[in-house]
């Protein structure tokens, strides 16, 4: 069932093979709709419970949703650059998995592949690839944001080897829609903070798990608070070693930074949309705004070129601190995009007829800080870049080596 493609395939070979497979396997009506740019029809197909599920199952079975995973685990074993070719092929027809699957496919899968037992791989990877499970991340807490290792959600081992979890998580994207969660919890508070954490795979239907959507400043509610109250987990929910969860989490976090920047290709982006919008409103005729828009265009193209280079240089190894470089720049681009969206249409973002939805420029303006904060703040990315790329010393953390339960209370 897996696509017949050598693991050494180049980007263009991978693109060609995936494209051929897609043209062969996409239902005729969907292929025609995609080729005719009738995107509403394509979306309806994916949203159709039966047809959509069948399509994602086929895509997953062919390895096209998980091109970098090893073939023996249902992937194609491709390099990052070649996998980009596959993604590019799927994107043409807009028939790939949605952003709500990002946590599962991009974070959960690779983390399970690196740290999971055979049984865990068996249980989770197939359904993930075929779109049967949605995953969320249960990392941040109200008192542990940038300082993730300061988390205080407890998982206590029972006599029978099961675990009981209590605590509160926050900023969990799509947790209210998810089947499983990637959970970090403290399993030994007598150890220093990084060393007493374990990593669990949590069935979100377990009694005691309650996800409550959080409204953001944009008015959207994509993130959640998740309350964990006497949640019982089986022994096999543990991923990696007891108290070895920090190392597992690093895998997840590196994938996260890497994955938030977009695909490795140079072409149209947000700045191009904004340039067109500015031409419509007349703002492009203002040379000062025009040059800021062009600086944004330069920055976005340079970021795309950096993503291409990162994937090309990474080969089959995981992307490292350069993921932080890209995330940081992406955040800056998002911020400037939001700021410019307002300047390009100053009155349009300020007021609109009651009852109508928020104009997209106003939404972009309000969302400008999203990436600067979510998925590790820009300050944290700068620390990572300085320490890993440049070898600078860490900031002193007076509680780093203190047993967790002896630290000062965080608020």
């Amino acid at each position: 069932m897996l696509l017949d493609l050598s693991a050494d395939a180049t980007e263009s070979e991978a693109f060609a093979a995936a494209d051929a497979w897609l043209r062969e396997h996409l239902p005729d009506d969907v292929l025609a709709a995609a080729l005719g740019a009738e995107w509403d029809a394509v979306t309806a197909f994916l949203d159709d419970e039966e047809r959509g599920a069948a399509w994602y199952a086929a895509l997953g079975a062919a390895g096209l949703s998980t091109p970098t995973w090893p073939r023996e685990l249902g992937g194609l074993g491709l390099s990052a650059a070649a996998a980009g070719g596959v993604a590019e092929a799927v994107l043409q027809y807009r028939v790939g998995r949605s952003m709500t699957d990002f946590v599962g496919l991009a974070l959960g899968g690779p983390t399970i592949i690196e740290h999971g037992t055979d049984a865990q791989k068996e249980r989770f990877l197939g359904p993930l690839a075929r779109g049967e499970h949605r995953w969320c991340q249960l990392f941040s807490e109200p008192g542990a944001g940038s300082d993730l290792a300061g988390l205080s959600t407890r998982a206590e081992r029972q006599g029978d080897g099961t675990w009981v979890v209590n605590g509160q998580k926050v900023w969990s994207s799509f947790a209210h829609l998810s089947d499983f969660g990637l959970l970090m919890a403290r399993t030994d508070p007598d150890l220093p903070k990084h060393r007493g954490i374990s990593y669990f795979l949590v069935d979100m239907t377990t009694p005691g798990v309650l996800a409550r959507p959080l409204r953001q400043m944009t008015g959207d509610a994509e993130f959640n608070e998740v309350f964990l109250t006497d949640v019982h987990l089986p022994p096999e929910a543990l991923l990696g070693e007891v108290n070895g969860g920090w190392a597992v989490a690093i895998t997840t976090l590196m994938q996260e930074r890497n994955g938030l920047t977009g695909r490795p290709a140079v072409g149209e982006g947000r700045s191009d949309d904004l340039l067109r919008r500015a031409a419509e409103t007349g703002a492009l005729a203002d040379p000062v705004l025009r040059d800021r828009l062009l600086l944004l265009l330069v920055e976005e193209r340079a970021l795309q070129m950096t993503t291409v280079r990162s994937y090309a240089e990474a080969g089959r190894t995981a992307v490292g601190a350069e993921g932080s470089v890209r995330k940081l720049v992406n955040a800056q681009i998002e911020e400037e995009t939001g700021a410019l969206a307002a300047e390009v249409d100053p009155l349009g973002v300020l007021a609109w007829p009651a009852g109508e939805p928020t104009p997209s420029a106003a939404h972009d303006f309000l969302a400008m800080k999203t990436t600067s904060i979510a998925g590790g703040t820009s300050e944290i990315q700068r620390n990572i870049i300085a320490e890993r790329l440049l070898g600078l010393p860490k900031d002193p953390d007076p509680e780093k080596d203190l047993p967790f339960n002896q630290r000062a209370r965080t608020t």
Binding site: G145, Q216, L350, A351, W352, P353, I373, A374, N383, A408
Partner: protein, 378 residues
């Protein structure tokens, strides 16, 4: 004028702060907005009766107290700190400034000043058209057939009219055969349609006002564009004071958060990444405050007031926008939520930066003002 604070300034500040923080804190503005209530009439009455705030900018001969620009700036600054969005800016600043200009040539303007001073009327200023916030040179709304007593019929659409859906009266800039003129229109007259707008700034309501052969009255025969330009100078100083108040509050709240929030075993404010950004925020507030009040201490109509107004318009708009953004960044996830006030300040910052025309054009006017010989170089 020398830059000198008096005890009257201090007393006024204390009184307004007490009133606003008890009767109109940000929470209340948020609650009113959520309930669709746009105007706290009890607060408006208290302002007039207990503190006489609406009378501050009204000259004595029209029943006001003829306070200084600095007095009014102090009020706006304190209102900015709580993101007050009631009709004070529209009525007691913008409308009063327009009416002060018109009063010498139009008795009705003087009378209306008196009513405003008592807290007896709210008046919205309708100027923006055609996607431009304060560009009085391009008036499309028409006022036709002035009779001998100044009665006209107005037709056109005005955007971004602050309190436009609620004000008792509207001051409309319209084009007559003789040029642009300011006209007074009853908010409930036939031919007036007021559409409440959904706004980016949740705490300051605005409306689109459609005039279809609506009855109105021309207020004297002064060039309406010149009046609008002069009003913009004074209003820029006062809006700058509001921006200073909001920005200072943003910095205060951010500093408090950075002092109490601990990560990595210490207050986040002890990390230079946070600390230096906060220092830059404080610098912007200090500079913005200097510009706004330096301007407010100048004589109305003087070249220095114009200089100060233009510097403050550019500097304070940028300062509030930047500090509001930094506030969200330094609060992290919590600052990104609907429940936290950070976004309310960002929303206000965006509105204020546009309300009196964009800052780039303020800088062009500054060049014309300081270096008229260089302005035309190209």
């Amino acid at each position: 004028m020398e830059f000198t604070w008096t005890s009257e300034h201090r007393d006024l500040r204390v009184a307004v702060r007490r009133l606003m923080t008890t009767r109109a804190p940000v929470d209340r503005a948020r609650a009113l907005a959520a309930d669709g209530v746009r105007h706290d009439t009890e607060l408006w009455a208290t302002m007039a009766e207990q503190l006489g705030l609406q009378a501050l900018d009204v000259p004595e001969e029209h029943g006001g107290v003829g306070g200084s620009l600095v007095d009014v700036a102090v009020v706006l600054e304190e209102m900015g700190a709580v993101l007050h969005g009631g009709p004070f800016l529209s009525t007691a600043v913008l409308a009063v400034e327009v009416l002060r200009e018109l009063a010498p040539v139009a008795d009705a303007a003087g009378d209306l000043l008196g009513r405003i001073a008592e807290g007896g009327a709210t008046v919205a200023v309708a100027l923006a058209e055609d996607g431009r916030a304060w560009s009085p040179g391009t008036v499309r709304t028409t006022a036709t057939g002035p009779t001998s007593d100044g009665a006209v019929r107005l037709t056109g659409t005005k955007q971004l009219v602050l309190d436009g859906a609620d004000a008792d009266l509207l001051l409309v800039l319209a084009r007559t055969d003789a040029g642009a003129r300011w006209c007074l229109v009853d908010g409930t007259a036939d031919g007036v349609t007021r559409e409440r707008q959904e706004g980016l700034d949740l705490t300051r309501p605005s409306a689109t006002v459609r005039l279809a052969d609506a009855p109105g009255q021309v207020l004297g025969d002064l060039d309406g564009v010149a009046v609008a330009d002069r009003v913009r100078s004074v209003a820029s100083v006062l809006l700058a004071a509001e921006q200073v108040g909001a920005a200072a509050e943003v910095v205060r709240r951010t500093a408090e958060h950075a002092t109490t929030r601990r990560q990595f075993g210490r207050p986040v404010g002890s990390f230079q990444g946070v600390k230096h950004r906060l220092a830059d925020m404080a610098v912007r507030v200090e500079m913005a405050r200097s510009a706004a009040y330096w301007a407010a201490f100048q004589e109305r109509g003087s070249a220095d007031l114009e200089l100060g107004a233009l510097v403050a318009r550019s500097y304070c708009s940028d300062a509030l926008l930047q500090t509001a953004k930094d506030c969200i960044q330094l609060h992290g996830g919590i600052g990104f939520t609907w429940e936290h006030d950070a976004h309310l300040f960002l929303r206000r910052a965006r509105l204020d930066a546009t309300l009196l025309g964009d800052t780039r054009h303020a800088r062009e006017r500054l060049l014309a003002h300081t270096h008229p010989d260089l302005q035309g170089v190209s």
